[in-house]
Symmetry: C2
Subunit: 187 residues, 2 copies
C-alpha cells in the first residue's frame, strides 16, 4: 500500500486527508497464476494497481488469442474501454504470475472524485501519461518493422523475456511467433 501511495504522489502531491481516503478505499487482492481478473462479456468494475506480479490483456480473434498489453509492477491496470463506459468487455485479463493487487471500484472512485478535487486531478494526470504511452506504441506499431519493435521492447522492458512466454510477446508485437523466433536468432 505504501508503494501505491508513493507511486501516485509522484504524479501529483496529495494532502494527508486524501491519502487516508485513498488508503481506505483500495482493497488488497492476491491471485494465483493463470487465474482471470476479468473475462470477456463481463463489465469491468474495478481499477487495479499492480503491486507485484505480471498479467496480460488479450482478446479472441478468429479463434486466436491476441495479447495486446502486459501489466507489471506499479502499473494501473483495467479494461479501460469497459471500465470507462461500463459496457461488456471484449478482452480478458489473465495472471501471468501470482500477483498482489489493490482494487478500487468505479463507484468508490467517483465518490472520491466528488470529495477530493486533488484525486480527480491525479486521475487526469494519470490519463495524460497513459495517453502518451499509448500514442507512442501506436506510432511504433504502424511505422516500424518487426525487428525495430522487438529491439524497442527489449530496451524499455528488458526483463520481459524471462517473465513472459514468447508466443505472447510475438502477439503483443503484432507478429507471428515464428517471425519473432527468427528475429531473435539474428540477435
Amino acid at each position: 500500500m505504501q508503494q501505491l501511495l508513493t507511486h501516485i504522489t509522484n504524479y501529483a502531491p496529495l494532502s494527508n486527508e486524501a491519502q487516508h481516503a485513498l488508503q481506505n478505499c483500495f482493497e488488497k487482492i492476491t491471485i494465483a497464476k493463470h487465474e482471470f481478473l476479468l473475462t470477456q462479456g463481463q463489465v469491468c468494475r474495478y481499477l487495479y494497481f499492480l503491486e507485484k506480479g505480471a498479467l496480460r490483456g488479450f482478446y479472441n480473434l478468429d479463434g486466436k488469442e491476441i495479447t495486446h498489453w502486459f501489466g507489471f509492477e506499479k502499473d494501473f491496470v483495467t479494461s479501460f474501454h469497459s471500465f470507462i463506459t461500463q459496457e461488456a468487455a471484449v478482452e480478458n485479463i489473465q495472471l501471468l504470475e501470482g500477483s498482489i493487487l489493490w482494487a478500487i471500484s468505479k463507484e468508490t472512485l467517483t465518490q472520491l472524485f466528488n470529495q477530493y478535487h486533488e484525486i480527480e486531478r491525479l486521475m487526469r494526470i494519470a490519463y495524460e501519461k497513459y495517453y502518451i504511452r499509448l500514442e507512442e506504441r501506436f506510432v511504433n506499431a504502424q511505422f516500424k518493422t518487426a525487428s525495430e519493435r522487438y529491439e524497442n521492447l527489449l530496451q524499455q522492458t528488458p526483463h520481459i523475456i524471462e517473465r513472459v512466454p514468447l508466443g505472447y510477446i510475438a502477439s503483443y508485437l503484432g507478429i507471428s511467433q515464428e517471425t519473432l523466433s527468427r528475429i531473435r536468432s539474428k540477435f
Copy 2:
C-alpha cells in the same frame, strides 16, 4: 463559441460561472489553408477546439511525411505529447482547409483547473474519450488488413474522401498511396 460550449457540456454539466470563465479564456483564431498551427521543434502551448475546417498532424520519417491524425469539426486538437510534457514537438500541424479555431494556453487551462474542479473533471472525461478512441485505432492498426482499415474509415468518417487528398489518407491508414488506390478500384 456556442458550439464549443454545447459540445463540452455534452461531456459533463458546467455551472454558469465555469462556462463564463471558459468563454473568457478561449481566443478565436482563423487560419488559411496550408498554413501551420505548429511545426516540429516548437513547444505546443495551446489546446485548440476546431469549430470549422480540417487539419492534419504529420511528422517526417526518412524524408517522408507521415500523416498520423486528422482533425475535423468539434475535435480538440493539439500535439498531445508536446502539450502535456511541454517538450519540443516531433510533429507538425497543418491546415487542410481554411479553419476557425478556439485556442487556450496551457497556463490558462491550468489556472482554470485550480479554480474550477468541474473544468478539471471535464478534462478528465475528455481524456477518457480520447484514450478509448486511440485504443480502438491502435487495435485496428495492428490486427486488421489494409482494406478493413479503409472500410472502417469510410464508415466512421465518410466525408473524409472529399476533403482530404488520398496520399494523406493512405499514410494515416499506414499503407502506400498505390495500395490505397488499388483497394479503391475494387470498391
